[in-house]
């Protein structure tokens, strides 16, 4: 019981940290390279403990993200739903990919997410973003192995500590 609770706290803390990282300011030159942390951490949880992550959770997290960023209500929710859906569909395969293949899959997923964002922005009549809009998926791909290793290590330590 206690172990489950500690795992739950870890799960929610990792997501809260993502929101903070997303809001955290960066120097102006590298702000476009900020990866989509929430998607990366959700991907980890969808691969490792899919009984926690579902479309409903993705939708709710997305709505909270929209409330934080103050953009358009439902934008993050739609993007995260699509992201989590694809991950859960191909979970069995993604999980046993070697790390470099996983990273490439992350690139594809994040590019897909950017295209979705572009479609939403185009639909509400916003101008096209500058070309460095497309860098974030690449940094996301580069960040994925580290996110995975860090979360995996913390989780296994937690488990060892509890048992």
């Amino acid at each position: 019981m206690n172990r489950l609770r500690a795992a739950g706290i870890f799960f929610w803390a990792s997501l809260a940290l993502c929101y903070l990282l997303q809001l955290m300011p960066l120097p102006h030159a590298i702000v476009a390279f900020k990866p989509y942390w929430l998607a990366l951490v959700l991907l980890y949880w969808a691969l490792e403990s899919p009984d926690r992550v579902g479309l409903g959770l993705a939708f709710a997290l997305g709505l909270f993200g929209d409330a934080l960023s103050g953009g358009l209500l439902g934008e993050h929710a739609l993007r995260l739903c699509v992201f989590v859906f694809i991950v859960l569909r191909f979970r069995a395969r993604l999980r046993f990919f070697p790390m470099w293949q996983q990273a490439l899959a992350v690139l594809a997923l994040l590019l897909n997410d950017r295209i979705l964002l572009l479609m939403i922005r185009a639909c509400i009549g916003e101008p096209l973003p500058p070309p460095d809009f497309w860098w974030a998926p690449v940094t996301g791909m580069l960040a994925w192995p580290w996110v995975f290793l860090l979360l995996d290590d913390l989780r296994s330590r937690l488990r060892a500590h509890e048992s």
């Binding site: 300011p25 899919p50 009984d51 479309l55 929209d66 953009g71 439902g74 929710a77 739609l78 973003p129």
Partner: protein, 312 residues
């Protein structure tokens, strides 16, 4: 135990990735986006959730604030003395200018009294700090630490020491969002200081560029021209610096000249900003005149108006 859990997990995942549920959620999200785009419900939800949102902003801004303070604490003595000397020189200059302005103000007051001018140019300002959070890198917006509790309203102009920064677009109880003049959906009416020509400066989405897309070919505009707010449109008071023209070239269709300008305000460096209290008098079309003519069919006014007319 482990195997059982795994089995359940797989089954659950298969259920979770159900296409029907995806379609339902996507539909819901699209409906929400359309409704929000039409009715802007998000700002209402945001002010409801401000208890959660505002602490998160402060928390996210904390590391950069700490880094800033650490930088101040570790700044070396010689740099500080140098900066101090520079600031003293600037203060001296500013003081000299201020004396002159005071003289002019007294003179102006006197002339105004002579002319019986009603509108004064009084500017009430409020100081606010920028909370360093990044809500969306592709929208040029900043968050400041004053909100509706500090008497902020949507539409107030925001300045820094060098020029116009933008305007308030959303207020939460203790924070508010400012749209910068470089946001792609922002436009500000300007006047070219040298010639007095009016134009509209649009944001480009890049923090260091404004664009004047529709300048007539015959217009007198050169690199280095200063742009000031014109006060037209009633959102920004007249006479504040907006930017400096840094390129003038022919537009794509050859019918207009396109000029770009660098904003005067330090949009990516300012920490403290000024928020103007009083909005300038709205300049725009005069209020529609009362219709004059035969009385309309509405009974109340139909009785009242002719009675007044006949008596006179």
């Amino acid at each position: 135990m482990a195997i059982a859990r795994n089995d359940k997990a797989v089954l659950f995942a298969a259920d979770a990735a159900n296409t029907l549920r995806l379609v339902a959620y996507l539909g819901l999200a699209i409906i929400m986006m359309v409704v929000d785009h039409r009715g802007a419900y998000l700002s209402r939800i945001r002010s409801g959730l401000s208890v959660v949102i505002e602490p998160m902003y402060r928390l996210a801004a904390m590391p950069s604030q700490l880094a800033h303070q650490a930088g101040l604490g570790l700044a070396d003595r010689s740099r500080l003395t140098e900066e101090n000397a520079r600031l003293q020189r600037e203060l001296l200059l500013a003081q000299a200018r201020l004396d002159r302005v005071n003289l002019l103000r007294r003179q102006n007051l006197h002339l105004e009294q002579l002319l019986d001018v009603q509108h004064s140019l009084g500017l009430g300002v409020q100081l606010a700090r920028i909370i360093d959070v990044d809500t969306d890198p592709f929208r040029q917006r900043v968050t400041v630490d004053a909100g509706s509790n500090q008497d902020m309203h949507v539409g107030q102009a925001v300045l820094d020491a060098q020029g116009v920064m933008g305007q308030v677009v959303e207020t939460l109880p203790n924070t508010s969002t400012v749209m910068l003049i470089t946001d792609a959906s922002h436009a500000i009416p300007v006047v070219i200081d040298r010639t007095g020509m009016r134009a509209i400066a649009h944001g480009t989405g890049q923090i260091d560029a404004l664009e004047l897309p529709n300048v007539p070919i015959s217009a007198d505009i050169k690199v280095g021209d200063k742009l000031m707010t014109s006060g037209l449109g009633g959102h920004f008071p007249a006479g504040f610096p907006v930017g400096t023209v840094d390129s003038v070239k022919a537009g794509a269709n050859g019918m207009f000249v396109v000029a770009t300008a660098a904003p005067s305000a330090a949009l990516d460096r300012s920490v403290e900003v000024l928020i103007l209290h009083e909005l300038p008098d709205p300049v725009g079309p005069p209020a529609p005149a009362q219709p004059v003519g035969p009385p309309s069919a509405t009974p109340a006014s139909a009785v009242a108006v002719p009675a007044k007319g006949t008596r006179r």
